[in-house]
């Protein structure tokens, strides 16, 4: 790599250094905006005992769901884990530890992790099972619980366009958790649909500045649709 050029030429190179037992933060909401090829590379490498942080865990046979097939995930932090039979089976058999986390808290845990904020107070989850055992403080007569930030050994991110320097733009609602995930990885890998030359992206339109990004790769994507709804 020369200077700020973050490009790598293969998915093997993109995930170099990932090991069993690591924590991986993944962008995506359902199957929208998921780093599908980076997930496939993790499967190919066969690393296991992963802690995965992601809003969902894909579906059977696609997205993070494929990492369940060889039991590569031992723990997951997610807000919603329905729509996945293999996941349910592993959860019921205690083969996977599930830490259900409110969606906004999950986004904020990533954001705080990337921003050097070790923990934050939130009203979300106070008085519920999520708040049990957590520190409570009262500000302006409201109760808040303390939630800790998350940092990943790797963050895997799906973008739309990026330049060689790792400045990234997302497309439509495929943005979702990706910008927060991008900030919270010790090594952040972004796969995109198109890599352009520096200067081609309007600086004020960039969602993820290149400073957060370590590796960038151009891929092709299936972009499977989870719930196809159309009007006639």
């Amino acid at each position: 790599m020369a200077g700020f050029d973050k490009r790598v030429s293969s998915y093997k190179e993109a995930m170099e250094g990932i090991e069993s037992g690591m924590t991986v933060i993944a962008g995506g909401f359902g199957l929208c905006g998921i780093p599908e090829n980076l997930i496939a590379e993790i499967k190919r490498r066969g690393v296991h005992d992963l802690t995965v942080v992601s809003n969902n865990c894909g579906v059977d046979g696609f997205g993070l769901g494929i990492l369940l097939e060889d039991r590569q995930i031992s723990k997951i932090l997610a807000s919603y884990v329905g729509e996945n039979a293999l996941f349910e089976k592993q959860m019921l058999n205690d083969e996977i530890e599930v830490v259900l986390t409110p969606q906004g808290t999950l986004a904020e845990k990533m954001r705080a992790g990337g921003a050097g904020i070790p923990a934050f107070y939130t009203a979300t989850g106070y008085g519920t099972p999520i708040g049990e055992g957590k520190e409570v403080r009262v500000f302006n007569d409201r109760h808040y619980i303390l939630e800790e930030a998350i940092i990943g050994d790797f963050a895997i991110v799906k973008g739309w366009k990026a330049d060689r320097y790792g400045n990234v733009m997302y497309r439509h609602t495929a943005q979702n958790f990706n910008p927060m995930a991008a900030t919270a990885g010790k090594i952040t890998v972004v796969e995109v649909e198109e890599i352009v030359e520096p200067g081609e992206l309007e600086p004020s339109q960039i969602h993820t500045p290149g400073i957060y990004v370590d590796r960038i790769i151009q891929g092709t994507f299936e972009k499977r649709i989870e719930k196809r709804t159309v009007r006639s």
């Binding site: 909401f29 359902g30 199957l31 929208c32 905006g33 809003n55 997610a78 807000s79 919603y80 884990v81 329905g82 349910e88 019921l92 259900l100 409110p102 969606q103 906004g104 808290t105 999950l106 986004a107 904020e108 990533m110 954001r111 939130t122 009203a123 979300t124 989850g125 106070y126 008085g127 519920t128 099972p129 999520i130 739309w160 497309r171 439509h172 609602t173 495929a174 943005q175 979702n176 958790f177 990706n178 910008p179 927060m180 969602h207 972009k223 499977r224 649709i225 989870e226 719930k227 196809r228 709804t229 159309v230 009007r231």
Partner: protein, 220 residues
């Protein structure tokens, strides 16, 4: 007669005001979008990062990168904004959403809500529900008044694990529209043909019944 799902959505839609930013949960709340009164403009917030959710796409408009929080393919209406999950929950937690409509298994007279977990059954997760109930001042809960076996879901104290504490102030059931205030349900309206006695019988929590309880009306 108990209200149909469509009638429940119609009744909730009457609470919409011009210029409201509204988050609609999955199920009956989603149907509310079909009954936005004429002359009123509301902006629908979808917590995956869309403010200004539009209609379902045509086949030609279908786009895998354009979904709502229910993971359905949607469009963005003119004037929509798209943003990250952190931004989305900043608007939710920061109290910027004017009205939230969501379903529940149980609510109680203290305004507690249980909507995400039935112990012993499969637990899929709370998604954004805990953030929504903690962040909103103005929430309408839509639910059936009682279970199929006649057991009330409007309780003195929720039995299921909570989604949020002390956060619900309005409930629309298939039988009645109620407010929750000072540790009691207040019966405001009843479904057409449903007696006050039936509502009293099916409400386990403390219920205040005013002298006059108007009957809801619906256009045919």
């Amino acid at each position: 007669m108990a209200l149909t799902r469509e009638q429940m959505a119609q009744r909730v839609a009457r609470e919409l005001q011009d210029g409201f930013y509204v988050n609609l949960g999955i199920g009956i709340p989603t149907l509310v979008a079909n009954y936005i009164p004429d002359g009123i403009d509301v902006m629908l917030q979808s917590e995956n990062g869309l403010l200004g959710m539009g209609r379902y796409p045509t086949e030609e408009e279908l786009d895998a990168d354009m979904i709502n929080a229910g993971k359905e393919t949607v469009t963005a209406r003119p004037g929509a904004a798209i943003f990250s999950s952190a931004e989305s929950f900043a608007m939710i937690r920061g109290g910027h959403v004017d009205l939230t409509v969501l379903g529940a298994f149980e609510v109680d007279q203290q305004g507690n809500i249980a909507s995400w977990m039935i112990p012993g059954k499969l637990i899929k997760g709370m998604g954004g529900a805990m953030d929504l109930v903690a962040g909103a001042d103005n929430i309408i809960c839509t639910m059936t008044h009682a279970s199929k076996h006649g057991e009330s879901k409007l309780l003195e104290k929720c039995e299921l694990p909570l989604t949020g504490a002390g956060c619900i102030n309005r409930v629309l059931t298939d039988l009645a529209y109620l407010e929750i205030k000072d540790g009691a349900f207040i019966l405001k309206e009843r479904a057409p043909g449903v007696s006050v006695e039936e509502i009293v019988e099916k409400t386990a929590g403390k219920l205040i019944v005013p002298d006059h309880v108007p009957e809801m009306s619906f256009d045919a």
